[in-house]
Symmetry: C3
Amino acid sequence: MKRIITLTTDFGTKDGYVGTVKGAIFSLNPRAEIVDISHEIPPQNIVAGAFCLFNSCSFFPKGTIHLAVVDPGVGSRRKALLVQTQKYFFVGPDNGIFSLALRREKLQKIIHLINSKYFLYQISPTFHGRDIFAPVAAYLSLGIDPDEFGPQIKEIQNLPLPAVKKTKTNIAGQIIHIDNFGNLVSNVTAEGFAEYKNMKVRIKKSVIPRLSRTFAEVRKGDLVAYMGSSNFLEIGIREGNAHLGLKAKLGDRLELIL
Amino acid sequence: MKRIITLTTDFGTKDGYVGTVKGAIFSLNPRAEIVDISHEIPPQNIVAGAFCLFNSCSFFPKGTIHLAVVDPGVGSRRKALLVQTQKYFFVGPDNGIFSLALRREKLQKIIHLINSKYFLYQISPTFHGRDIFAPVAAYLSLGIDPDEFGPQIKEIQNLPLPAVKKTKTNIAGQIIHIDNFGNLVSNVTAEGFAEYKNMKVRIKKSVIPRLSRTFAEVRKGDLVAYMGSSNFLEIGIREGNAHLGLKAKLGDRLELIL
Amino acid sequence: MKRIITLTTDFGTKDGYVGTVKGAIFSLNPRAEIVDISHEIPPQNIVAGAFCLFNSCSFFPKGTIHLAVVDPGVGSRRKALLVQTQKYFFVGPDNGIFSLALRREKLQKIIHLINSKYFLYQISPTFHGRDIFAPVAAYLSLGIDPDEFGPQIKEIQNLPLPAVKKTKTNIAGQIIHIDNFGNLVSNVTAEGFAEYKNMKVRIKKSVIPRLSRTFAEVRKGDLVAYMGSSNFLEIGIREGNAHLGLKAKLGDRLELIL
């Protein structure tokens, strides 16, 4: 049965851990279609993993199984989960890694993965990605009923994004992600974009006079504020790198002002 | 319909942008075979992207769709293109990224991608890789006729490699790529290799006394000049790194001398 | 014919070399399933490649073809090999890269790859990954008999791991791998784990008072010694990075003491 399984992890790509997980999946379902979302989540950074999954997962077809493993609590009492939504399945640790993605989905079922019949024979206490999550995703891709994997539960860890603070004349957010191009992604969302139209953006010691639709609206080397492809306000430099140019870092404050 | 779609981008692999593009493709054609050529083209470096695609694309089977997105002009008036050759399809921005690859191909048709029926529903002004090029490649892989995507045009941006200068006793080129092993790839091509046979190679302050067929012809740690697997003259160090050893950089001069 | 071909190389992912190898495989067998184990083996580091392949390969299904190319001797007289075991095929240079993986397998046949009918038409003296190993793996995935590729031979290069030294009160090993999380993997194996139970671990100037099953048994920031998922003794720091925290490097001594 051909079913897509995506992978979002902090494993890196140098050690072969990702290959191992793929081997474990293909050993159970040679017809699975495995797609990497990212393996370069900073080690143990659950927020970064949640954000990456959130940005990418909704572009996959209905029925996709999203496996996400950023798992600093491996071997502790944190639960192993399967979450079923109207469109997708999510498999991974109960530490908040799905909480951003789930905002957009219609939740149907949360399963606590405890049926070891669907785990690898011997469970390493440090590599549940290989020994629990990969085989569960593989069995799921073969059509095993979610309820087979364990009992339904009601609660799941939640991981909120830092809140945006709004007054009548000011919206204050922060940088929550810096991408490969050095673009600074903030937590200010596109909802209410209309009201931002006449606002300036202040970041570090710079003020950007208005929002743009695209990089091409400013000159080469200039700062540009725009609604990014993930629907968050972003700061970039045309044909440059805002991360380096502004010496910006995660958590830096960004303000929309009148 | 099983059809290979290759990806060459400057997206990096940490943000999930590549996963997003693959999701967009699989959502339209779950049977596509997507193959990464590289996602580590230096941001906005069209020449590097063109060179990478040039080296790799011709090894793929007939009918392959080569999607290449290094796109500093996204959101400007640069065109979106589909280029059909006797052997392949190329999809991406009209900025010269295909110009090296196309030298080797028999051009059949250039299509200006304007039929938004084949784009994602809502187009981000900063991520045409996801919203225009990925769905066009996916529809193409499903057998949609190239002419469906827009009108034929005649012109395409060209991006020449820097020229090699030849005299009777001297051939002067430059370093155009540095690879993962630190090997220095020049713009001097294998055509005329026979006449190089008795020449020395000068680079930085070193002179390499002759061309070799392979690294094994010199001693460990020695400089070696050879025709690389892409048919350009390359400089390496046996079991070492010429990039570091020579402190070489892109654009450095290299000469063949009698 | 659908058959998995894994890739373990030192090619890196920036240059398109990996894409080229995949193109060469798909040109011969469009139905192959190609899976990356790692392309970030440090250039020409055969031991690191052997270790990576060893850790990952056994999780793949029976019949998998493991292609491994870390090949400082390319173009020299080192042999090109196909090794058949009860469970797998291994294709690559005869330089010891398979020697760790083969310890666990039942060897059936070693073939010296000399039948150029199964190579690319023109062989580059520096890229046998593309020109010899990729097509051989592809033909093998199509069901070509191993004996077609060349004569059987008896000997293969061996690459031993450094030996562990044991006395009645002391077991001395060394760090043989540092992973993406900064965990230090030693050459001390899980055999005899029972007898280690009451031992301390000394590394650099630190002493870890006992072995743990999992990171969760120590406090955040503390050193932890545990049997890793590859069945070697590892040193980590809970929610930290032992590589950086201990300023450890490959070859550093590690002792189990009473």
